[in-house]
Subunit: 357 residues, 2 copies
């Protein structure tokens, strides 16, 4: 078993700002490599600014914390450890950019989605504004692909031993495939009526689309870079499963309490499915009717009706219980595993970072 | 200098069918890894069929030929050599799928574009056909991302020595970034009037978007895997430049002689720019007017006018001369380089594979 090195709280706190400083430097240093010409350089700046928008840096933090907790010897501010952690954030930004194009979302982290940023950039001196939107979506897709390649290249550019670097990269690529399959699953579930979507299907999509790259990959990559293999990686994957689903549920509940964007869009969440299952026959029919109204995303009375039905079903309270149970499950998995107990501190940190209403 | 092993014509001829057999086996073997569930499996089959549509397999052929010509010792049917070559084709399929979404193209290689395939797949049992198109585009994007990851993973899964494998992968990732920048450049040029697009800009976009991953990357990766570095890689990159531009011009001329899809869409090609520059003032004004007509892509009289103006400008003959000059330039670069003269046979092969009216 590895030495248990409990990371001091100060390191956790300092990490996101340290990562951001690394990312800012990284984009400055790469600028020369990406000096493709005047058509590209403003967009490169936009892309750097997009990645650097304030965020929790959850995935980089998990990678670095897993590495350190499993006895990885490099300090928290080691350039290669920061670089590997940064790869997680670059990959995350890639998925956000593509997701927003796919969902035609206008906002991300309270600011314009990347395709909207590109549209504003194109609009300068653009003679055909009507086509700028489609062009901007194309640019956003390609910019996302560039971040995807950059994330992988960044992991390869670390100075960890080559076999570890390669093992980490292959595991990362598996996660990319899983994430893609989960996104496809999400789109396919979106085409169905909520009554025709099973709870296990929603949970499976969450496991592929969210858990894999948000929890499992950072934890496992940190372990691989610390020289671990076999059972340790399996233990981490087992922990990641309930943590990921709890995170998704917390996210769903926070959205419901705020703008309820998921409910407006009829997104197939566990919350909506639970509401559907718990309502009486008449209310359920009303729920399905309200969900099926075309173009109702900005209809305030429809949203009020949907919200009222979800509240009446008691689904939010049930899901809060489910979230707590999943967090307990993760701690039980930890105590059953041979992992250092110091991972408990990581769970406390995750609890404090969970989306909250 | 490496031993000059002139590949027998029989090997060249046999290679595409051998690669296709490898790809078919590859998709079958991977099926278990990608058994995500009933929502995904039909799409996985669609994706395999898409990659296996008949094609010239130009990029895999270049990789294998470069490897063999530079003294790589594995035979043409070595599983790892085929695997590395297959990575080129997987990456190519990824770019085609994304390009067709970006361009809203309906056809690819005479069959439905991948987002149209996904749309047909979704349409089975779909209750809201109006939204199926947007959903299908989302699926196509994600499926493309999956092929992107698969291409990289496939290269890593070869049993070439680890340092060569890693050097090849990093070079590949650079090409991905270049290709992305070229695609962005293409979109940005597309927003401008042909008179405001400089010849050097069109050539720069071609170098990034087409030459890099179609010629330079396969040639250089084959060399890296054969254990070459330094000057050999620079020589190959120098050869790739005129070959790539010649290929693009041949492609533009073939399109002009067939459906003239580029001209209908007002694509910023060297052909269109040459026509613009060679026409008299009145004809040029007419060309610009016809190009600016909104929604005219399927207007036969507009196309006839545009075609007539391009012919009148003599631009097709000029570009045919330019193509021939570029091919001569590539041969001159070869004779000036320290590369094996056997690369001349590769050029003959390329000539025979160039798009022709």
């Amino acid at each position: 078993m590895a030495t248990e090195t409990l990371p001091p709280a100060a390191e956790w706190q300092a990490f996101p700002a340290r990562l951001d400083a690394f990312l800012a430097r990284f984009f400055r240093e790469q600028a020369e490599r990406y000096a493709y010409g005047p058509f590209f350089e403003p967009l490169y700046g936009d892309l750097a600014a997009y990645v650097l928008r304030p965020g929790k840096r959850l995935r980089p933090l998990l990678l670095a914390a897993s590495y350190r907790t499993l006895g990885g010897e490099r300090p928290w501010d080691d350039p290669s450890l920061l670089r590997a952690a940064a790869a997680m954030e670059l990959f995350h930004a890639f998925t956000l950019i593509h997701d927003d194009v796919i969902d035609r979302a206008d906002l991300r982290r309270g600011l314009p989605a990347f395709h909207r940023v590109a549209e504003a950039r194109l609009g300068q001196g653009q003679s055909r504004p009507a086509e700028a939107s489609a062009d901007a979506e194309g640019i956003a897709l390609v910019a996302g692909n560039l971040l995807h390649a950059l994330a992988l290249d960044t992991l390869l550019a670390t100075d960890f031993p080559a076999p570890l670097r390669e093992a980490a990269l292959r595991r990362f690529l598996q996660a990319v495939a899983d994430t893609g399959a989960g996104e496809i699953g999400d789109i396919v579930l979106g085409t169905r009526n909520i009554g025709a979507v099973r709870v296990e299907e929603i949970e499976r999509v969450c496991a592929l689309k969210t858990t894999r790259y948000t929890f499992e990959t950072p934890l496992v990559l940190g372990a691989i870079l610390a020289g671990k293999e076999g059972e340790t990686l399996l233990d981490l994957a087992r922990l990641a499963e309930p943590l990921g689903l709890a995170f998704q549920i917390a996210d769903d509940l926070a959205d419901f309490a705020a703008s309820a964007a998921d409910l407006r869009a009829g997104k197939k969440t566990l919350l909506l499915r639970a509401a559907h299952d718990r309502l009486g026959e008449a209310d359920r029919a009303l729920l399905l009717l309200a969900l099926s109204l075309p173009g109702g995303e900005n209809d305030a009375s429809r949203l009020a009706l949907l919200r009222g039905l979800v509240e009446k079903s008691n689904a939010p309270a049930l899901l809060r219980e489910r979230e707590a149970a999943l967090r307990r499950q993760a701690r039980e998995e930890l105590s059953r595993s041979a992992l250092p107990t110091a991972f408990g501190a990581l769970f406390d940190r995750l609890d404090s970072l969970a989306p909250r209403p």
